[in-house]
């Protein structure tokens, strides 16, 4: 089976000379279809930086990332946008949603960018909201939803475009335990039922406990990579 994400010799250095920060040092990593993997490690170990590289949000200093066999190096901004739109779903720690759009409109937004027709957009958005347990909340704006609900909308949006992989960076950091566990359960179920691939950057043990694969980072390197059965 081909990996969905393949990183080879990935390095990222911020700044120059004395002040240079080596956020990633020669990282090799494969994410396989159907993985639900946590990327753990102390603060500053390079989790976010690695997710940025995989998500085509930033460019590595050296090394190569491929998504679905497509190397990202050398692609234009516009092509990278298309790749993110079609292959990658994002769940960020905060500021996930467009504040002036309702839950449904936020989800429809990516479908609209993909050129999906109005009717199908609506159906798929409502379906996705139901899936994350937010049926009936479709007309709420983010400001009128709890943190947990907002993260669920973000998950619904990440899924609705049927991406190859969902990247989540500290998705539970702003949630209380109950909401955090519910969000983890949700992702776990989506993974089991639809085979959605997740890569979750976190230092939240509540999340790690539910992952099938646990990747530990230290100082910009992958320290350990273990498969378990959660």
């Amino acid at each position: 089976m081909d990996p969905i994400v393949a990183c080879r010799g990935l390095s990222k250095t911020f700044g120059k000379g004395e002040l240079a920060v080596h956020a990633l040092r020669d990282v090799d990593l494969d994410i396989m279809p159907g993985d639900i993997a946590t990327l753990a490690g102390p603060s500053g170990s390079g989790k976010t930086t690695l997710l940025n590289m995989i998500g085509a949000l930033d460019e590595p200093t050296s090394g190569e990332v491929s998504v679905d066999g497509q190397p990202l190096g050398g692609l234009s901004r516009s092509r990278l946008s298309e790749l993110r739109l079609s292959k990658i779903g994002f769940v960020f720690q905060s500021y996930n949603l467009i504040p002036v759009l309702s839950a449904r409109e936020n989800i429809e937004f990516v479908l609209q960018l993909q050129g999906v027709s109005t009717g199908e957009r609506r159906n798929r958005a409502l379906e996705a909201l139901k899936e994350v347990g937010l049926a009936g909340m479709e007309d709420r704006r983010p400001g009128k939803m709890s943190g947990g609900q907002q993260q669920r909308v973000a998950v619904a949006r990440a899924l609705v475009s049927r991406p190859s992989i969902v990247l989540a960076d500290e998705p539970t950091a702003n949630l209380d335990t109950r909401n955090a566990l519910e969000l983890v359960d949700l992702m776990r179920n989506l993974n089991r039922e639809h085979g959605t691939t997740f890569l979750i950057g976190t230092h939240d043990v509540r999340v790690m406990e539910h992952s099938m694969r646990h990747i530990e980072m230290v100082d910009g390197r992958i320290d350990s990579d273990a498969r378990g059965s959660a």
Partner: protein, 409 residues
């Protein structure tokens, strides 16, 4: 693309009202700017129209006819005979509302205290009253009774300068038909109140009286005519010129170049004003919209991360700006329309007009809607506003997708 517009329009509209204070400021800047342009434009046009009317009604008429050479050297040597058959019938044509003849020669007016240069005008008072506003501007005494009336009517300011007054006598001097100096004393029977420049220049007496004084045998200096329709000016002047090929027929535009150039002066003034207002508006728009973009860096990052292309981000912000400036423009148009409507009974400038007597203006100015201006200026402001707003929109499009990952600290 059309579909993209349809979804982006409501998004852009909602984004506008996220910071009502800032949106409000931009709206006010655009609306007041456009309002001032539309209002000043209407005001300047009305002002010019009014001052033109006033000047034409004072003495100028719609046009005048002189002997060839009189305009270059307006003296007793360049006079003409009263209109002959051909010219008289042309002057009685329906296009001409009224006409009269005058003797107009340079001269001197002298009191016990002072001697001042003056233009001596001999008029037929009855006809003059139908053509000129001066007979109606008598402040003291009376206007002339007939063409034979050998008294004078002086301007208020000239009376002050001569230190003379009603019932006193002044001496008029001028070169006569024989080339010698004529000198005769006249009773001051009336004082007129116009603007200072007119008051200082024109001294009126009866036409026949002036001819006698100058030793003339019925010669006159000019025919003044007033048209029914200002629109017919060129045609009427041409018809009169045909009827009097040996004479110098001119419209007011050729007689008063200053007045004729008013229009273009005004155009320049409006353009300067437009430039100033636009510069201020541009600063306001760019400032507020740049601020708005900087505040939303993370949001634009999110949009880029989700797969929105930079061009789309630019388009979205451009639509926001188009709506914002569009609403401001509409507001400004309504404001200007309401202002113009509210003064449609005329603005009374009598006090102001007295203070600025050098500019001959009607005392009440009537503003009018200029449909062209209400299309041109709003369109211009809207277009130019969107153009400068491309700068902040470009900044928004440059926001990097990695900003989306940045967590709030």
């Amino acid at each position: 693309m059309i579909d993209g517009f349809k979804t982006m329009l409501p998004l852009a509209w909602r984004n506008l009202w996220r910071n009502p204070r800032r949106t409000g400021i931009t709206l006010i800047v655009v609306a007041i700017g456009l309002w001032s342009i539309l209002f000043f434009n209407a005001f300047m046009i009305a002002w010019a129209e009014s001052s033109k009317e006033t000047t034409l009604r004072l003495l100028l008429g719609s046009g005048q006819i002189h002997a060839e050479g009189y305009m270059d050297d307006p003296s007793v040597e360049a006079l003409m005979n009263p209109p002959d058959q051909d010219l008289a019938s042309a002057l009685d044509a329906p296009a001409v509302a009224d006409w009269t003849t005058r003797v107009v020669v340079p001269g001197v007016v002298q009191s016990e205290y002072k001697t001042l240069p003056a233009t001596i005008v001999g008029v037929d008072p009855m006809a003059e009253a139908r053509i000129s506003s001066i007979p109606g501007k008598i402040a003291e005494g009376r206007y002339l009774n007939s063409g034979d009336d050998d008294s004078v009517v002086l301007g208020l300011h000239m009376v002050e300068r001569l230190k003379t007054g009603l019932g006193r006598r002044v001496i008029l001097m001028s070169q006569n038909a024989e080339g010698a100096m004529s000198e005769q004393s006249f009773d001051v029977v009336g004082i007129y109140d116009a603007d200072k420049a007119t008051e200082d220049l024109y001294v009126f007496t009866g036409r026949a009286a002036s001819q006698k004084f100058l030793g003339l045998e019925g010669e006159i200096a000019q025919v003044v005519f007033v048209l029914k329709e200002e629109m017919a000016l060129e045609d009427a002047v041409a018809a009169l010129a045909d009827a009097a090929p040996a004479l110098d027929v001119r419209s007011w535009k050729d007689l008063n170049l200053f007045l004729a150039s008013m229009d273009s002066y005004m155009g320049v003034f409006i353009q300067i004003w437009l430039g100033i207002v636009f510069a201020l508006m541009a600063i306001g728009i760019v400032n507020t919209q740049l601020m708005a973009v900087f505040e939303r860096t993370q949001e634009f990052g999110l949009l880029r991360a989700l797969g929105m292309k930079p061009g789309r981000v630019l388009l979205m912000v451009a639509i926001e700006n188009a709506l914002l400036i569009g609403v401001g423009v509409l507001l400004g148009m309504v404001l200007a329309a309401v202002t113009i409507w509210s003064v449609s009974d005329g603005i009374d400038f009598s006090a102001f007009a007295r203070a600025m007597e050098m500019v001959q203006t009607g005392e009440i100015i009537y503003l009018d809607y200029e449909p062209d201006a209400f299309i041109l200026f709003p369109g211009l402001i809207w277009l130019l506003g969107m153009l400068v707003a491309l700068w902040p929109a470009g900044r928004a499009a440059k926001c990097r997708p990695v900003e989306a990952m940045r967590r709030e600290t």
